[in-house]
Subunit: 213 residues, 2 copies
């Protein structure tokens, strides 16, 4: 069905990408470059609504349309209340789906947490820009990803595996202390820019970001 949908979209000059798993979808949603997300409830690695909830918890503003074979009123209410913007039960007419996508795209992303702010540090996930004490500070890609992941949960522990996943999402790498190295480099920059936050290690678990004593 996904392929048929892709074909229909392409025929109408709609640019679309397709992945099969929640994990991949999450990684791509993080890029933040999509106008709309179309999601099936049943996916190989879990329940689509969980992804909706996860994205919304992080204040991800992308409009989401959920497709499903589960068509009862309760399912629809659940779907919408989990944070989706529209909910369409199969079977449906392609034309209706397209019209609903147009409606969502027209409306655009929700006004979002444009910035993840904590202490005097602020991260704009859309542009991948970080400013400290009001001035822009350049971070290379990997360092940025680590810092963003930490900033999404200030004051809370982010596990090592989580961080690795955030940084190396689709790729497969790392058999060294590369992550530690990144952390170290980030710390150096934070110090240099006189950030009021610091990154603390939690032995055997991961890291967390918090305000400096």
């Amino acid at each position: 069905m996904a392929l048929a949908l892709l074909e229909a979209l392409r025929r109408r000059d709609v640019l679309a990408d397709h992945v099969r798993t929640i994990a991949d979808a999450e990684a791509m949603a993080r890029l933040g470059t999509y106008d709309v997300l179309v999601l099936d409830r049943r996916l190989p690695d879990g329940e689509g609504l969980d992804l909706v909830a996860a994205l919304r918890q992080r204040r991800h503003p992308v409009p989401i349309l959920v497709l499903t074979a589960l068509g009862t009123v309760d399912h629809r209410v659940n779907g919408l209340d989990s944070g989706a913007d529209d909910y369409l039960a199969k079977p449906f007419a392609i034309e209706e789906l397209l019209a609903r996508l147009r409606a969502l795209q027209r409306r655009g992303p929700a006004l979002s947490d444009r910035y993840l702010s904590f202490g005097n540090l602020s991260v704009d996930p859309r542009s991948s820009e970080i400013s400290i004490a009001g001035s822009l500070v350049e971070f290379p890609r990997r360092e940025y990803l680590v810092l963003e992941a930490l900033m999404r949960r200030p004051n809370r522990i982010v596990t090592r595996p989580n961080l690795v996943e955030a940084v190396y999402a689709l790729e497969d790498e790392i058999e060294s202390n590369a992550l530690d190295a990144h952390i170290s480099r980030i710390r150096k920059k934070l110090l240099l820019a006189e950030a009021t936050v610091e990154i603390r290690a939690v032995r055997n678990i991961g890291y967390l970001i918090r305000t400096k004593a």
Copy 2:
């Protein structure tokens, strides 16, 4: 039915007002103090969709849900394409309507645009014209397409694949650094015209346009 709906809303502590005619609805919409508008297609003084179209033409950003007894796919597509954000056919479950209203209210009003302006650069997609610092600058087609794609999301990353698709839509795509070459040429023009914006590469992901430091 409106009265039953009002009662249901009231029972859930949702504040709602009710009018019977398009004229009244338009007047109240002008006040701009509502989170969501619920509209029936058949109204005493006309067709509900006309009001939708009229509001949208004036760039009114309020989310609109259209209710109707007309339930065919074509009706739904028409309704959505006239500018409504959701479309629900009777009969419907009150709970679903409420969930959809919550979804719309959550998302908030749309931002109106259609004129791509950023820094001292402005793009008119209709005429494919670009002006920098107030004066018109000629861009060849491919360069224009790249720049427009970037300007549709100022300050946000546009992925390489997206850019490629934006430029080469259906045509056979490329297998070289043609995109990079375009970017380079665009940059040269931006510099020459003293634009206050610049195009930044985001390693491994794509490009974004932002205001110059």
